[in-house]
Each structure stands twice: as structure tokens, then as C-alpha cells.
Chain length 575, copies 2
């Protein structure tokens, strides 16, 4: 198409409210326009990219026997009550009432709808396994939308649901899907995407992986081993400690620790290593306001996701009241009130002569020795893994903490939904069984933003050819020059006849600098520049957006050279 | 794909709650599953059809320089307040509150979003004309969803919005779009679709057309001329009367009309033709409850849409109170209370010696002559056109009333949205002007249902090849017979290699009758039957779903014959 007809404005200035580059470039390049907090319209450029991503995903989903369906955006409350999630999901789920006062929700995920659709179909083992997927609008009422298309409230998502008669079958299909996802990210040019073990969160289920694009602007913290292939979301990463403390146990002594606000202060005052202290972190359960005290090594932090999963309850940082019996700032394992649940993190195992609170204002103990002073203690993994921590897989001190954006996830859901929603099938022996589910998501817009984030320069995105809005961008400098115009026009016609998506800038009203900066913002992989100077020598200039190729070829060779480059770029992504 | 893997059940019994055939067949064929009133999930078969329809629409929209965009489903109240429609649209618009208490609506149409997206872009005349479109989920909280996909609450729609600098330009583009719509309906095989003039309703604007599939189950009444090309929604059809009453005016006389409940009773009692009576129809305005009395020829009905448009106000049938001054059953033009608005329909023009109410309980007038007894009277077109009425175009008494389903519409919106939403452009002279809009919609699911309605038999849909879920359906009777199976397998492989969408039924567990009834329900245009009997003679049987072709060809000729039929079927729709 002609660039002067392309709807959407491009401009130079970075908008003040854009914190991350992909957001700024997508606004500057006329890709998206914000309508409300976390809600965007897509201009034609963005829609073209989204459609190309969707086609790549469809191809891979179809290749692993997925069948495309469509679920509703608006769903009745009753369906979500079947799974219990109408109650259990918080404010992220949009709830409302229709004209008759019936309560409805907007789909933020579609496990319930998937079970609803195939509950009768999947009534015999012979139908299994099967997988359905959709590409549809979802709404999640995020508390803090941010970063353009990276964290929005309304978005297009591919979500897939597979159904199986055994865990082995689910696991086998999970691997198949895992590979399909790898191909999707390779084909969309999402470089630097890694898969990490993740916490299943509100989805339920046991094993799950997230696909993360590593980027400093990511919202998730990831534990990545530099030696082996261990990769996990920090929320899900097991913390391992190998403490060999050979110090002789000293005598438990209560010591005054005046004016010490933190465990660091206490240790500093007592001249002890913080790693030899036992810190208390206090939470309350959301429903009962019951206190939960986690004792953990002084230098570590509590992993709230692990605690939440362990308790099976939602929690929040405690508000410690005077009548709670808990002495804030001086909480210790010895003589703590019975009025709370006490948990010990594995980081404390084997450390001798700890500093800990004395449950008395102004006092701590020194030389606290867990088993000696408390008797049998059970330890649980409740701490956040740290940089330099032990890799749960290769057991070396090789954990690095990175940041990433989640662009896809796969979950082994088990029977969480099928069971409570009464989906059953008859097995070979005529017995009623409950099918096992997996689910698999990819956010389309977020994937585009993540690719932009991973592949851009200060002037604009550098789109991989597979998802670029066009494959070729013709800049005709001086379209008022007849020879120049004819060369560019011919190339444009030729490329269109070959079925190559091409955008053609033949504006006479703008200077070359504007043409080039517009081209940079559109990020089309192959650029052909037709100018009076080159035309005199019967040449065209071909430059790739990633600057790896920049050369002049004769007008006659241009078409072939462009097609060759396109094919090579495509092959690189398919290889 | 293999039929035994296709997700969705097929069955014989017509569901009790299905009133129209397309609904029943789509449920019986495993196309859709209801989740809530007017809300459906789509099984793979339906989704395949929808995608094919969408691609046909995209192709035509792109061909008339449309650029695909995406608007949000969830939109902020503020945007709809800009146009005034947050107030003016009733309960069909779903309203709710997000987690922060901000009011939002679900998009039922996207004029506001379209203006929002291009308000800055379209700031100079040089950018015009342009058109944007999307294919997206919409939600309309219909009071009475019915008939499967024909009247739903949630649906996928293609909606397009064009922007112009002059009415001439809009009208020219409107014609272009009109032709594109004709091509869309031709290509999707929606036979019997006609375009009719329509009332613009809540969309605003002046000229508009609806595309109607003529069918007895349609919800709209249409006035169609049997002689010329005049076609209009009854709501919008002008009523014309050519009354040449040569009777001599008699003397106005008040006459007792005891126990006459209706105008028919009155005329019967007085032995007068109902066509020589003047009936009163009474409404009240919604806001002020102000009475509006429409006098109309006794045999006709008031067209409430015309009245609404004339008044510019919403109305409802009146509740006549004792203190209103209106004497229900005896209302007439002479001496009627000043407490109401009185309107005369053009049907009364020129009729002499009318019967009419006397505004006195138990009495009517005879020999009422409008101008003689009232003085100057203005007449307005407020009646419903009738079967045998005068065609507004060719002026013959050739109007027929048909029923239709609306599957698309096009509106000349004018500046209704751009003006109040402050969209302006600079014209050639540097003056600020307001752009003129058109909008153009097609419901995807309703189009599919309408095609099914127009093209089915008692056994299932007869899908046009352009939107059929597959092009070929192979029935392998006795796949446990090696020769038969090999012939069918080879054909399946062959067709797939040729890129022909094919569904292959090689089940050994079902009888031929079930295979054929399943095939009928899927409605695939070309069926190939491979059976032991035919195989012995080295033959395959080829039958088209519409039964126009049924023949046996040799196994070797089968592939070529099938491809020929496919091409011919496609050509018929493109021609």
C-alpha cells in the first residue's frame, strides 16, 4: 500500500508517559492508541502484525491436532460458580449484571467454557485425547496496567485446552505443546525467550511453565542457572541450603537490643553476621485474619507465593495489634504466643548460635540453637531464591536472577476443572472416569511488544520478517522526478504481483530524513531506496532494517535481490 | 481431517427449543452450543465457516481501500458521553463498573471508537477519504434473543467506518461499498439477499440500506415492489395514496354508536366502508407523557418509527386517563381537547364523508369532510405501507410485503458523531471543517445462519462451497475392507496434497445411514462415496450436497472429477 494512505500518525517525540521502549515506539509509530487505562485500539500497522502472529500460532496449533473454536466473552456467573472461581478470583475478574439482573463475567481465561463445550462430547475414552483452542478477546481488570501492550486490561489471546485419559498422555502432549511453543517463538522471531517452571496460581494444577522474554523491563524475577538448564520463576524456584555450621553451641542468653529497628540493626549492635540470625516475617490470612509467623534466615525474604500455596489460603502482611500477643520487632521462636501459626524456613536448618527475638520488647536471644532449644522442628521451603543460590538441578551455587516478560504459559491442570464440573467419560472397562486437562496460552499483543522490546533500536522496531507489517518498504526520494518515479512504481507493481507485502512511500511533500525515520518506525525488514542520484547510475539501494545488508544493485537486479533477501530472512526463522 | 476426531456431537432429534431450521440444524450438527440466553460457543465446524466468511469480507473490504484495525470491547463511559449515546441508548447497551468504580460499556457498535482512533489523524483534507474496519466481538443485550445465531446477544461483526470531506464523496463511496456488499453476499452464497432502504434508528444519519435475506422466519417486514426495484424496510417505506373521492359532501351529523369497541364495529354498525373512516391512534411521549393523537384511515396502521422520527422523541402507546380530556373510543378531529398534539396521516387526504369520533362517549360523526369542517389541515406520512399499496418509485399498486433477516447494513451518518466529538480537518483554504462519516456492518454468525436458512433441506445445511467447513467429504463405507480403505485413503492424501479442505469419514463403527446423515448435517458440497460394491467395479460415487450431480466415475477419474466440480462451484459464486 501507499504510505500516504496508511492510517495512523508517526512522530518523533517520545511520549512522557511511556516508560518502556516498545510502548514508546508503538505510540510514536502509529501502532496503538490508548482509550482508557490498559485499553488500546490498534491501528492498521499493529493489526497487520497481530494477524501474522495469529496465523503462525494457528499453523502450530493445527499441526498438533488443535481444533479452533470460539468461546463467549460474556459468560454467566453460574458457569464460574461450577468451578468455584466466581468466588475465588478477585477483582481482576470483571463482573456485571445484564438487563435482567443476571450476573455475568467477562472471560479472563476459558477453562470453564472449554469444559462446558466438550462435557458431553468427551463421554467416551475413544474420543481422547483432543485439544481445542481459540483466539479471542479477554479482559482482566489489572490493578496496574503498564508498559503499553505488555500489561493491559483487554487483550487478544490464544488459549488452548487439551483433554486426556491419563497423566502420561497429558505429559506426552505437554511435551508436544512445549515444542510447538518453541517453534512459535522461533517463527515469530521472539529471540531470547526461555521457558521457566512456574507457579500455577489461580489456574490450579501441578506442573506449569512460563515462556519468558528476558529483558530488564520484565515484571517477573527469574532464577536461571548459569551452568545447567534450570530455569524457574522466582515464585516457583526451590531454595536449597547446605549449611555446615561447625561452631560449638553456646549458651542461650537474653540480651538487651535497644533502639534496633531491623534484624540488620540487631546483628550490627550484637556484632553478629545477619546470616546467623533468625528473622520473623508475619502475615495474616485474608479470611480469618489469623497470624502466620515465618522464621527465616535474617538475610532472606519470604516467598509469599510459596507460603500461599503451603497454606492454601490468601494472605497479606500482618497488622500486629496490641492484643495479639505478638511483640513486633522482638519475635522469636522461644516462648512465642500460641495465638499464631509458626513456620520455619529451610534456610535455618543446621545454623548454630542464632540471634533471634526474645518475645519481649527490647530483648533478643543470642546462641539460639533450633533443635536444642525447641526440640523437633519441621522446616518448609518458604524463602525467595537469591543470586548465587544453589541450583535445584545441578546443585552448584550458580543461580542468577534475571527479569522477564511472560508471553506464554502451559499448565498441567489435572482434574481441577473436569472433576468439579462433572465431566466424565466411560473407559475401556465401562467405568466412569474424570478427564485430565492441560491448558496453553499466548498473548498476541504482548508477544508483539516483547519482540519489539527485544528487537529495536532508538529509531524504531526491527521486526522479524515473519511478523513485520510489510516485507518491503520502498522509499522513493523525489517522486517528482519522472525516472525515479517510474523505477519505484515498477518495483512496487512487480513486488505486488509476486505477492510480496510492500509499503510504498512516494510522498513528494516530505524530506528524505522524514521518509527514513518513518521507515524506521515501521521497522519493515527490507528497504529499497530509489533516488535521483542512484537512478542516474541505474542503481537502487537495498538496506535491511537490522543494517546487516546495505548495498547498491542495478535496477534490473533489484527485484531478484530483494526476493533473495526475503527468502533468506524467512529461512532463518524457519530453520 | 478425520471425522472421528471432529469435536462436536451430531444427532437426529430436533431440539424442542429450536423454532427455526438453521438453529435446529446448527445444534444437531455440532456447530454451536448455547451457554446462556443468546450466548453461544462455536464448535470447530462453525468456526471454520466463520473464518471463511471473514476472509471473504476482508478481501472485499481491502479491495475498496479499507484498512483493518481493532477497537476495544470494553470502553469507558466518557467516550460514549461524548456522542451522547451513553444516555440515549437503552438497555441493549451493557454497562458496568471496573475495579476502580469507573463506568464502562461493552461495544455494541464502534462509531465513537472509530472517531477516537482517527480524530487526530484526519486533521487535513489531504488524508481523505479513508475507511477503517474491524472484525470483533460485540455484545448487545437484546431483550429477546431467538432463533440461534440469528438474534444473539454476543456476536462477531465486521464494522467499517468511512470518513469524507463532502456528501458527494460519501455518496460515491457508499455506492462502492454497496457493490462490495453485493459481492460479499454473492461470494458467500447468500442467495436471495436484497438491499432495502431502511430507517437509521439509533445510528443517526439520513440514507441507509439494510441487506435482507428474504425468508418467512425473518423479523423485519419489507415492502418490495413487484414491478420495479423499489425495496424498503416497512419502517422506512413511504406510503402514498391517490384518493379521488367524487362523492358529494353530506351534512356533518352526530350519530349514536352504542357498543362499538373498534372502528370496524362502528363502520359495521353505520354500514360504512372502513376506508371511509378516520381512526385515532394515541401515543404518549416517553419523557413528558404528552399525548399525541394520530388520525389515520380506518383500515391502516400507524408506523411508529415514522412517528418517532417525526417527533424526534421516543413514544409508547398511550394510557388514557379520565382527566386527559380524551374520550377513548370516540376520539375525532372535531372538538378534540387542546391537551394533545394532533397529527393527520396522508391517507385521509381527499376522502369525503368520513366516519369519525365525536369526542363524546357513544357518539360518532358521519359525513365529516376534513377541510370543510376543520379548515386548513397539514398531512404527514405516518402510516404503514400495505400489501397492494402504491410503490413510491413506479407509482403502481404493486407493493408486496415480505419478511427478511437483516444480515448487513450501510448508513450515511453525516456529521452526527464527528461534530459532537470535535473531529475537524483543515480544508484547502485553511478552514476548519467537520468530516462526514459512513458506516457499514455485517454480522458473521447471522450471515452464516441466514445462508443456512436459505440453503438447507430437512437433513442439513447445503453450504455454498465458499463458506463450507470443508469442500469434500469422503465417506468410506466398510473401511475394514482393504481395497476400499486404500482407495479412500489415497483420495484423502491426494486431495490434501492439492490443498483441498477435506473431511474423511473412515469410521468402521457406524452404519452407512449414520455416515450419510452426519455428512448431510455437515453440508459439505462434494461427497465421494467409496464402497465395496463400487470398488469391485473400480468406481467411486460422487454426489453433490445439492443433489444436482450424482454419478459414478472410475477410481482413476475421481480426483479430476472432484477438482472439476469444485472449480465449477467456485466459479458460479465468483461469476
Amino acid at each position: 500500500m501507499k504510505l500516504n494512505k496508511l492510517i495512523g500518525d508517526r512522530f518523533k517525540e517520545r511520549p512522557a508517559d511511556c516508560v518502556v521502549d516498545s510502548h514508546a515506539l508503538m505510540v510514536r509509530g502509529g501502532y496503538i492508541k490508548g482509550m482508557a487505562n490498559g485499553i488500546y485500539s490498534q491501528y492498521p500497522v499493529m493489526k497487520r502484525i497481530a494477524k501474522k502472529i495469529e496465523e503462525i500460532i494457528r499453523r502450530e496449533m493445527d499441526a498438533i491436532d488443535g481444533q479452533e473454536v470460539l468461546f463467549p466473552v460474556v459468560m454467566p456467573k453460574e458457569l464460574w460458580e461450577e468451578s468455584g472461581r466466581f468466588e475465588s478470583i478477585g477483582k481482576e475478574m470483571f463482573r456485571g449484571k445484564d438487563r435482567n439482573g443476571a450476573e455475568v463475567v467477562l472471560g479472563m481465561t476459558h477453562e470453564e467454557a472449554a469444559v462446558h463445550l466438550v462435557r458431553e462430547y468427551g463421554n467416551t475414552y475413544a474420543k481422547y485425547p483432543f485439544m481445542i483452542y481459540q483466539i479471542q478477546t479477554k479482559f482482566r481488570d489489572e490493578a496496574r496496567p503498564r508498559a503499553g501492550l505488555i500489561r493491559v486490561r483487554e487483550f487478544t489471546m490464544k488459549d488452548a485446552y487439551s483433554f486426556h485419559t491419563s497423566m502420561e498422555d497429558l505429559e506426552a502432549y505437554y511435551q508436544v505443546c512445549f515444542q510447538a511453543y518453541n517453534r512459535i517463538f522461533k517463527r515469530t522471531g521472539a529471540k531470547g525467550v526461555i521457558s521457566v517452571q512456574s507457579d500455577s496460581g489461580m489456574m490450579g494444577g501441578s506442573i506449569s511453565h512460563e515462556y519468558m522474554l528476558l529483558t530488564p523491563i520484565g515484571e517477573d524475577s527469574l532464577a536461571v542457572c548459569s551452568e545447567c538448564d534450570y530455569r524457574a520463576n522466582m515464585e516457583a524456584a526451590n531454595s536449597i541450603f547446605e549449611t555446615e555450621d561447625t561452631e560449638s553451641p553456646g549458651t542461650l542468653e537474653k540480651t538487651a537490643t535497644p533502639d534496633c529497628a531491623t534484624i540488620e540493626d540487631v546483628c550490627g549492635y550484637l556484632k553478629k553476621d545477619v546470616k546467623k540470625s533468625c528473622k520473623a516475617v508475619v502475615y495474616q490470612t485474608n479470611e480469618e485474619d489469623h497470624y502466620v509467623v515465618v522464621f527465616i534466615r535474617g538475610d532472606l525474604e519470604c516467598n509469599e507465593t510459596k507460603l500461599r500455596n503451603f497454606l492454601g489460603k490468601e494472605i497479606h502482611p500482618a497488622v500486629i495489634t496490641d492484643d495479639s500477643g505478638i511483640i513486633a520487632g522482638y519475635i522469636g521462636p522461644v516462648g512465642i504466643t500460641k495465638n499464631c501459626t509458626v513456620l520455619f524456613d529451610t534456610s535455618l536448618l543446621g545454623i548454630r548460635n542464632l540471634v533471634c527475638g526474645a518475645n519481649e520488647t527490647g530483648y533478643h536471644y543470642v546462641n539460639f540453637n533450633m533443635e536444642r532449644d525447641l526440640g523437633d522442628v519441621r522446616y518448609y521451603d518458604l524463602s525467595k531464591i537469591t543470586e548465587g543460590g544453589i541450583c535445584p538441578k545441578c546443585k552448584k551455587h550458580t543461580i542468577e536472577i534475571s527479569r522477564g516478560i511472560e508471553i506464554g504459559n502451559i499448565f498441567q491442570l489435572g482434574t481441577k476443572y473436569t472433576d468439579v464440573m462433572n465431566m466424565r467419560y466411560t473407559d475401556e472397562n465401562g467405568d466412569l472416569k474424570t478427564p485430565i486437562m492441560g491448558c496453553y496460552g499466548i498473548g498476541i499483543g504482548r508477544l508483539a511488544a516483547a519482540v519489539c522490546e527485544a528487537s529495536h533500536d532508538e529509531y524504531g522496531p526491527v521486526w522479524p520478517i515473519s511478523i513485520a507489517p510489510w516485507e518491503v518498504h520502498i522509499c522513493c526520494l523525489r517522486a517528482d522526478d519522472e525516472t525515479v518515479k517510474k523505477t519505484a512504481d515498477d518495483l512496487y507493481d512487480h513486488l505486488q504481483k509476486e505477492g510480496v507485502p510492500v509499503i510504498y512511500d512516494d510522498r513528494t511533500s516530505v524530506r528524505p530524513g522524514v521518509m527514513f525515520s518513518d521507515a524506521d518506525l515501521l521497522g519493515v525488514p527490507v528497504r529499497v531506496i530509489v533516488s535521483p542520484k542512484n537512478s542516474k547510475e541505474n542503481l537502487c539501494e537495498i538496506v535491511t532494517r537490522d543494517k546487516k545488508i546495505s548495498k547498491k544493485v542495478t535496477v534490473e537486479e533489484t527485484m531478484k535481490t530483494v526476493l533473495d533477501i526475503i527468502n533468506r530472512l524467512k529461512e532463518e526463522l524457519e530453520a
